[in-house]
């Protein structure tokens, strides 16, 4: 039998904690997508060597404490206003990587105006958008992205379009805006999906640094607590229901079109 010391050797390394992830307990529920996306963001920043050139803007939502987990400079925005902060940061510091990290309530409801207008102005920023179809932080209320029929604390009989309107595909709207360079919808429910998502984040960050315009990376996510499912079931439910409505893939990439 190999000893512990014999196993823990550089040549046996399969995965490691990203250098920019802090050694603190996370408040996210086990199985939540937020943690995985944090890890990808941390890895991409380190791989691009931009630790000392990055300003992250955290939202109001479950990711409000993103600044505790990724070891970079942060600003904590008011609910929905992250793209306005990011606009100023990038305009005033054009050589910085400026990104926001926002939930669906933050981005597609209270902050719709800030989101659409920052993207439409073509601000050279990246918006990472965690769409879990619910308000996770406040205890599982209906979000603008909640699917029809889906039950939440404020639509306990299921989302009814006559009462609540329709789930908002804000990423499709973003793709129509002249100011956006790259608009994509990803997920992190499998190893293959995680790899693709990381590539998308890297592409978006590179665009931002090269001044190509605005970038939106939606990540269709689970909120197993809000959905009242275990993590495995939540992933299955997401594949079965969310992907049907929120199609995963690139919606716009000006690089490719050219």
């Amino acid at each position: 039998m190999l000893t512990r010391e014999e196993i823990i050797q550089p040549q046996n390394l399969v995965a490691e904690k990203p250098a920019l992830m802090n050694n603190v307990d996370m408040h996210y529920c086990p199985g939540c997508s937020h943690g995985v996306v944090h890890k990808l963001v941390a890895e991409v920043i380190a791989e691009m060597g931009l630790e000392e050139k990055t300003i992250g803007i955290s939202p109001v939502g479950c990711a409000v404490f993103a600044y505790r987990y990724i070891d970079i400079d942060w600003q904590e925005a008011a609910h929905g206003r992250a793209p306005a902060l990011a606009t100023a940061c990038k305009r005033l510091w054009p050589d910085r990587l400026v990104f926001t990290y926002q939930g669906d309530g933050d981005l597609a409801c209270i902050g719709t105006a800030e989101t659409i207008h920052a993207l439409n102005r073509g601000e050279n920023i990246t918006i990472i958008f965690i769409n879990n179809a619910i308000y996770g932080m406040t205890g599982g209320q209906m979000a603008p992205t909640t699917l029809l029929g889906m039950k939440t604390a404020t639509c306990p009989y299921g989302r009814d379009p006559r009462l609540h309107g329709y789930p908002l595909k804000i990423t499709e709207i973003a793709a129509q805006l002249e100011g956006t360079a790259y608009v994509t919808r990803q997920s992190v429910h499998s190893v293959a999906a995680i790899r693709k998502c990381k590539k998308a984040i890297r592409h978006a960050f590179e665009n931002s640094m090269q001044g190509k315009g605005s970038n939106l990376v939606e990540v269709v996510s689970t909120c197993n607590s809000g959905w009242k499912m275990n993590p495995v079931k939540a992933n299955e439910w997401m594949e079965e229901h969310m992907f049907d409505y929120y199609h995963v893939g690139d919606l716009k990439d000006t690089e490719v079109i050219r």
């Binding site: 931009l50 630790e51 000392e52 050139k53 990055t54 300003i55 803007i57 409000v64 600044y67 070891d71 970079i72 400079d73 942060w74 600003q75 904590e76 925005a77 008011a78 206003r81 306005a84 902060l85 990011a86 606009t87 100023a88 940061c89 305009r91 005033l92 510091w93 910085r96 105006a113 800030e114 207008h117």
Partner: protein
């Protein structure tokens, strides 16, 4: 140099724009609203991004512009916005966040009458909102009240200085009279925008990525879930406000030495009161003018002392009576105090002020 002392004729709003460029402002973020749209229009015309490198952005709303201020100020840059009453009402969320996270920035309110959409005519009825915090939580904004186009120009740099000294939002509380009237002004000399290195040195707290590896991350936030820690943060803010109250009170006192009566007025009301005082003095009543320049911190002690020396105080303001409560509080009710104001965008006439003073005199003689 000679050119920089040149006397120009311009509107108060235009003076704000010119002064912003000249005092090394890094960014302006605003949304059009009467009676202050000339600030953004003048900046757009002057194109400072081609000269000093100052950024000018027309935001999608006042909610966005104040949050741009929050973001830009959090990186250590000198950033400002301007608006008028309904727009400043929308900004209260962002101002509270800036106060809570201790982010400097300059807000100009060229007031108009309310409530609601109200009128585009001048008013001073945002006095409470400006001096009491205005948004949620226990906080203060440093409030400067100009009464001339010259002070509109001068208070931009002063506002930035105070905002950075105390890491707190500062406000120029003006009104449609001062914003729209044309007067002679000597603009401040052109000073360069601070270099990145100067910003790093002046604002070690700023969140802009620089020096992360040696200093650790900087986080701009107003959030704290542990009530014990949050109380400490609040106490820290209160201690800071106390310092501001001790060090930054500004006022102007004219003809108060021999005065039997005093008029207390700020901003455009003080200009009209000055006219009324000329008439009153010609008629033989010795009246002095006391003008608070900082509305917060309020010149409590100076008004307290003034109240010991005069027979009565008339507070003139273009609202239904707001500053009068601060004056009464400072004077500790030791002399009769009356308020005179007009509402709805109507500016008081000097004769009305003379009449109000005559009434106050009768009360005092009884």
């Amino acid at each position: 140099m000679a050119q920089e002392r040149e006397v120009l004729l311009m509107k108060g709003n235009e003076a704000i724009a010119h002064a912003a460029i000249r005092c090394g402002c890094d960014g302006y973020f605003g949304y059009p609203i009467t009676p202050q749209s000339e600030v953004l229009e003048t900046l757009a015309e002057l194109k400072p991004w081609e000269t000093t490198g100052m950024v000018v952005v027309q935001a999608e709303s006042e909610v966005a512009s104040i949050n741009m201020l929050y973001g830009g100020g959090g990186t250590g840059k000198r950033v400002m916005t301007s608006s008028s009453s309904p727009g400043v009402a929308l900004m209260q969320e962002g101002i509270a966040y800036m106060a809570g996270a201790e982010v400097p920035g300059l807000i100009v309110n060229v007031q108009r009458g309310g409530p609601g959409l109200g009128t585009i005519q001048p008013s001073q009825s945002d006095y409470y909102q400006a001096t009491r915090g205005g948004g949620n939580g226990d906080y203060h904004v440093i409030v400067l009240a100009p009464n001339s186009v010259q002070e509109m120009a001068d208070f931009v740099d002063l506002g930035f200085e105070l905002a950075f000294r105390y890491r707190n939002p500062a406000m120029i509380l003006s009104d449609g009279v001062i914003g729209q009237m044309m007067e002679k002004v000597v603009l401040p000399p052109q000073k360069p925008r601070r270099t990145d290195e100067e910003i790093y040195a002046e604002c070690p707290w700023a969140s802009n990525g620089h020096g992360l590896k040696t200093r650790g991350p900087q986080v701009i936030t107003s959030l704290e879930l542990d009530p014990a820690v949050m109380e400490q943060r609040n106490l820290h803010l209160q201690a800071k406000y106390k310092q501001v109250e001790e060090n930054e009170v500004r006022f102007e006192s004219t003809g108060c030495e021999d005065a039997e009566y005093a008029i207390v007025a700020f901003g455009s009301a003080s200009r009209i009161a000055q006219k009324a005082i000329e008439t009153l003095r010609n008629n033989g009543t010795k009246v002095g003018l006391f003008r608070p320049i900082t509305l917060w911190p309020f010149p409590k002690k100076a008004i307290h002392d003034l109240a010991q020396r005069v027979k009565g105080i008339l507070v003139v303001e273009i609202n239904a009576g707001m500053m009068v409560y601060d004056v009464e509080n400072a004077a500790e009710h030791c002399v009769p105090i009356r308020q005179f104001g007009r509402l709805g965008g109507i500016v008081p006439d000097p004769d009305e002020i003379v009449e109000a003073m005559e009434q106050l005199k009768q009360v005092c003689c009884k």
